[in-house]
C-alpha cells in the first residue's frame, strides 16, 4: 500500500512552552477533500503550521507520503491566511502567483518563460487573468484569495494545506473555490482545509478532522461529522486541558 499523503504521530506543539496541541495522531487518505474543524483557539492553524515546519514540534513527527516534510516539500502546496501578508506590498497579482514556482527554481535562478506561462495558466484557472497586472491592494478580498490559490496551484503539489480560504470571500469566489477543490480531487490531489462554517462541511468535504487542542475525531464526513462528535469538539469538556496548559505556563512564568 502506498504511503498516505499525511501521517502525524504523537505530535505536541507548544507556543511559548504552553501546549496548544496535544498528542495528535492521524492518517489522511489520498485524493480526498478534508476539513479541519474546531472552535477558535482549537489549534487548527497551529496544526497546519506545525506540519509545514513553520512551528517547532515539542514532540512527535510528521510524514508526507512516508518521508519527513523536509524531503517532500516539493509535493506540498500552502495557502496561508489572507491577513498574514501586507497587501500594500509593491507586487502585482501575477508576481504573487509566480512566487509559487520559486521553490522548484532553487537559489539564484530567475523564473523563465516556462514559469511565467505556468503562472498565467494558474491565474486564468481561478478566473483572474484580467487582473494579472493589478497591484494586490487594488483587488477585493475574494480576488486576493484567488491569487493565493493560484500561487498554490503554481506550486504543482500533491497535498495542499489551505488556511481558511473561505473567510471573508464573496459568493462567487466561494463557488469558484469549491469547484477548484473538486477539480483537484478529481486529479488525485489531497486537500486539507481549515474551515469555519459547519453547515457547509457535509456539502463540500469528504473527510473531517475534528480538533480542539487534541484530536476529537477523524474520518469520513458521513460517519464522523456527527452531533455527538461536534458536541465534544465545541462543548466545555476541555477545561482540564486548558487548566493544565495554564499551569504549565504559570510554572514557566514563576521560574
Amino acid at each position: 500500500m502506498p504511503a498516505p499523503p499525511l501521517e502525524i504521530h504523537d505530535m505536541t506543539v507548544a507556543y511559548h512552552r504552553r501546549p496548544v496541541l496535544w498528542d495528535i495522531d492521524l492518517v489522511v487518505p489520498q485524493g480526498q477533500l478534508i476539513a479541519i474543524v474546531g472552535p477558535n483557539g482549537a489549534g487548527k492553524t497551529t496544526l497546519i503550521k506545525a506540519v509545514l515546519g513553520l512551528l517547532p514540534l515539542a514532540s512527535g513527527k510528521v510524514e508526507i507520503f512516508g518521508q519527513p516534510y523536509d524531503q517532500q516539500r516539493h509535493l506540498v502546496g500552502y495557502v496561508p491566511q489572507r491577513e498574514t501578508v501586507d497587501w500594500d506590498f509593491p507586487v502585482t497579482a501575477f508576481d504573487v502567483v509566480l512566487m509559487g514556482t520559486y521553490g522548484r527554481l532553487g537559489w539564484f535562478r530567475r523564473p523563465g518563460l516556462a514559469e511565467k506561462k505556468r503562472s498565467r495558466e494558474c491565474l486564468d484557472h481561478v478566473g483572474m487573468s484580467a487582473y494579472a497586472d493589478r497591484q494586490i491592494r487594488q483587488l477585493s478580498g475574494g480576488q486576493q484569495q484567488r491569487v493565493f490559490l493560484a500561487r498554490a496551484l503554481a506550486q504543482d503539489a500533491q497535498v495542499y494545506f489551505m488556511d481558511e480560504p473561505f473567510a471573508g470571500v464573496d459568493a462567487a469566489t466561494e463557488q469558484a473555490i469549491v469547484e477548484l477543490l473538486q477539480e483537484l480531487r478529481a486529479n488525485g490531489k489531497t486537500v486539507l482545509v481549515v474551515h469555519h462554517e459547519l453547515q457547509t462541511v457535509k456539502e463540500y468535504f469528504d473527510y473531517v478532522i475534528l480538533l480542539n487542542m487534541r484530536l476529537i475525531a477523524v474520518g469520513p464526513v458521513a460517519t464522523t461529522f456527527t452531533t455527538e462528535n461536534l458536541q465534544t469538539t465545541y462543548g466545555g469538556r476541555l477545561t482540564i486541558l486548558d487548566e493544565a496548559a495554564e499551569a504549565v505556563r504559570r510554572g514557566e512564568v514563576r521560574r
Binding site: Y78, P80, V85, D86, P90, V91, D95, Y102, G103
Partner: protein
C-alpha cells in the same frame, strides 16, 4: 568643482544609491526602526575599535561599528524573546544605551593624554563628509558593489521573503539566513555611511528614499531603482550645497549670515534634500500623492452633485414627459435642500456641458440632458429595487442608501442588476425603459411643474 569636492561627491552619491536599495527592503518589511538601531549602536564600536586598534584606520573603525551594531540587534532580539518587552520599547532602550555609551567612550578618549584631541570621534555623530578621502571612497565603492551584487543575486529570494516569510519557509527557504543577510547588508551600509552622514542621520538616508519611491510605483523592481536614484541624487545635491556650489551659480550665498563663511554640514543638508524629495512625492505623485487624491475626491463630489441634479430634474419633469417642462428653481432647491448659490453653481455647470438650458422662469433639460438624466435615474431605481429585494431594506430608507452607493457602481454591475431584476419580472418589457420609483416621490404629489 575641486578634486576634493569630486571625491566627496562620489562617496556620498554612491552611499545614497545603495542606501536607497538596501533601505527599501527594511521599509517594506516594516523594519525601518532597525536601521536607527544599527547606526546608533555602531558608535561604541567605533570608540572601542579606536582604543583597541589605537589608530584611526577607517576599515578598523567600520569593523568595530558593524560588530557593535549587530550586537545591538541581537540584544533587542533576546530582550523580546526572553521578556515581555515589546519590540519598539526594546529598540528604544538598546539604541539610547549604546548611543550614550558611545558618547561617554568618545569623551574618555578625547580626555586621555595618549589620543588627546586628535581622535576626532565627535565627527561620527553628525558625520563630516569633507573628511572623506580617496581611500574611503574606494571602500565605499567596494561595499556598494558587494551590496548591490547580493541584492541582484538574491532578488527573487528577498522579494519572496519580504512579502510572505511563512510561505517562503514552507517552500524550504532558510528564512533565518535570509533575514540575517538583509540585516547584514543594512548594517554594512549603515556603518559605511556613518563617516559621511553621521550616526544620527544615516537612518534618514536608508528610510526616506524608499518611502518616497513607493509613491511613484507599484512594482518592487522599479521601486528599488527609483529609491537608488532618489538617494544618490539627494546625497549629491546635499554635498554640492555644503561645498557651496550654489554660491558659484548664484554669485552670492543666500545661506550666509554675517561674515561667517564656515561651510554648512553635509549630512544634515543631504537629509534635508532627501526629505524635500519625499515631500514632493507625497504631495504630487500620481494616484498615491495627496494632490491626486484630493483632485479625485473633488471630481467624485462634482459627479455626485451633477447626477443628483439631473435625477431631481428628471423626477420633477417625469409627470409631463415626453414634454420637457421648465422647472421652478425654488421647487428644485427644496427637493435637495441646496442653498441658492449651490444650486446656481450646479445649474451653471450643467448648462456649460449642455445638459440644461436656462429660461427666464427656470432650468429645463435639453434633449441630451434628458437622455443622461434618464440613464442616471434608471441606475438609481434599479439599485433601489435591488436593495429592497436583495438586502431587505425598507422602502422609505432605500432612497438614501441607494444615493450613497449608486455613483460608484460600474456599468457592468448595472447591467447585471438589470438582468437580475428582468428575470424576476420587475422591469418594464421595453429595453431601456425606466422602472417606476419603488417609493413615493414628493415631487410627483406636489404642484405640477410649470410649463
Amino acid at each position: 568643482m575641486s578634486y576634493l569636492v569630486a571625491i566627496v561627491l562620489t562617496g556620498t552619491a554612491l552611499l545614497g544609491c545603495v542606501s536607497g536599495v538596501v533601505g527599501s527592503f527594511a521599509v517594506l518589511r516594516r523594519r525601518a526602526l532597525v536601521s536607527d538601531l544599527l547606526s546608533h549602536a555602531a558608535l561604541p564600536g567605533i570608540c572601542i575599535a579606536f582604543i583597541v586598534a589605537g589608530g584611526k584606520h577607517y576599515s578598523q573603525l567600520l569593523t568595530g561599528a558593524f560588530l557593535s551594531g549587530l550586537l545591538g540587534v541581537a540584544l533587542v532580539t533576546l530582550i523580546i524573546r526572553w521578556t515581555r518587552t515589546k519590540e519598539d520599547a526594546a529598540i528604544g532602550i538598546v539604541l539610547s544605551t549604546f548611543f550614550g555609551l558611545g558618547i561617554v567612550l568618545s569623551s574618555l578618549i578625547q580626555r586621555s593624554p595618549e589620543f588627546g584631541g586628535t581622535a576626532g570621534l565627535e565627527r561620527y555623530t553628525l558625520g563630516q563628509a569633507a573628511n572623506i578621502t580617496r581611500d574611503d571612497v574606494v571602500l565605499i565603492a567596494i561595499v556598494c558593489a558587494a551590496a548591490l551584487a547580493v541584492v541582484v543575486l538574491l532578488y527573487k529570494e528577498f522579494k519572496l521573503f519580504s512579502f510572505d516569510p511563512d510561505f517562503a519557509r514552507s517552500q524550504g527557504w532558510p528564512t533565518l539566513k535570509l533575514d540575517l543577510a538583509m540585516m547584514g547588508l543594512l548594517g554594512l551600509v549603515a556603518v559605511v555611511g556613518v563617516k559621511a552622514v553621521g550616526v544620527l542621520l544615516v537612518p534618514a538616508l536608508l528610510i526616506t528614499p524608499a518611502v518616497a519611491a513607493r509613491f511613484w510605483t507599484n512594482r518592487l523592481g522599479p521601486m528599488l531603482a527609483l529609491s537608488a536614484i532618489i538617494g544618490g541624487l539627494s546625497a549629491a545635491a546635499g554635498t554640492l550645497l555644503s561645498a557651496g556650489v550654489h554660491v558659484d551659480w548664484l554669485g552670492f550665498d543666500p545661506l550666509a549670515f554675517g561674515n561667517n563663511d564656515s561651510p554648512l554640514p553635509t549630512g544634515p543638508l543631504i537629509v534635508l534634500c532627501v526629505t524635500a524629495v519625499f515631500l514632493f512625492s507625497m504631495l504630487f505623485a500620481p494616484r498615491r500623492g495627496m494632490a491626486a487624491q484630493v483632485i479625485e475626491l473633488v471630481r467624485l463630489r462634482q459627479k455626485t452633485a451633477r447626477e443628483n441634479l439631473l435625477r431631481t430634474l428628471y423626477e420633477l419633469s417625469e409627470p409631463e414627459l415626453p414634454r420637457r417642462p421648465i422647472v421652478s428653481p425654488e421647487v428644485l432647491r427644496t427637493e435637495r435642500a441646496w442653498t441658492a448659490p449651490q444650486a446656481r453653481r450646479l445649474l451653471r455647470r450643467a448648462e456649460q456641458v449642455g445638459y440644461i438650458e436656462q429660461t427666464g422662469d427656470g432650468p429645463r433639460l435639453t434633449e441630451r440632458g434628458l437622455a443622461e438624466a434618464a440613464a442616471i435615474t434608471r441606475t438609481h431605481r434599479l439599485w433601489e429595487l435591488f436593495l429592497i429585494q436583495g438586502a431587505n431594506i425598507a422602502s422609505d430608507h432605500v432612497d438614501r442608501d441607494a444615493d450613497s452607493i449608486e455613483h460608484f457602481l460600474p456599468s457592468e454591475m448595472v447591467d447585471d442588476l438589470e438582468s437580475v431584476l428582468a428575470r424576476q419580472g420587475r422591469l418594464p418589457a421595453i429595453p431601456g425603459h425606466l422602472p417606476e420609483s419603488p417609493h413615493e416621490l414628493p415631487s410627483h404629489g406636489r404642484e405640477a411643474p410649470r410649463a
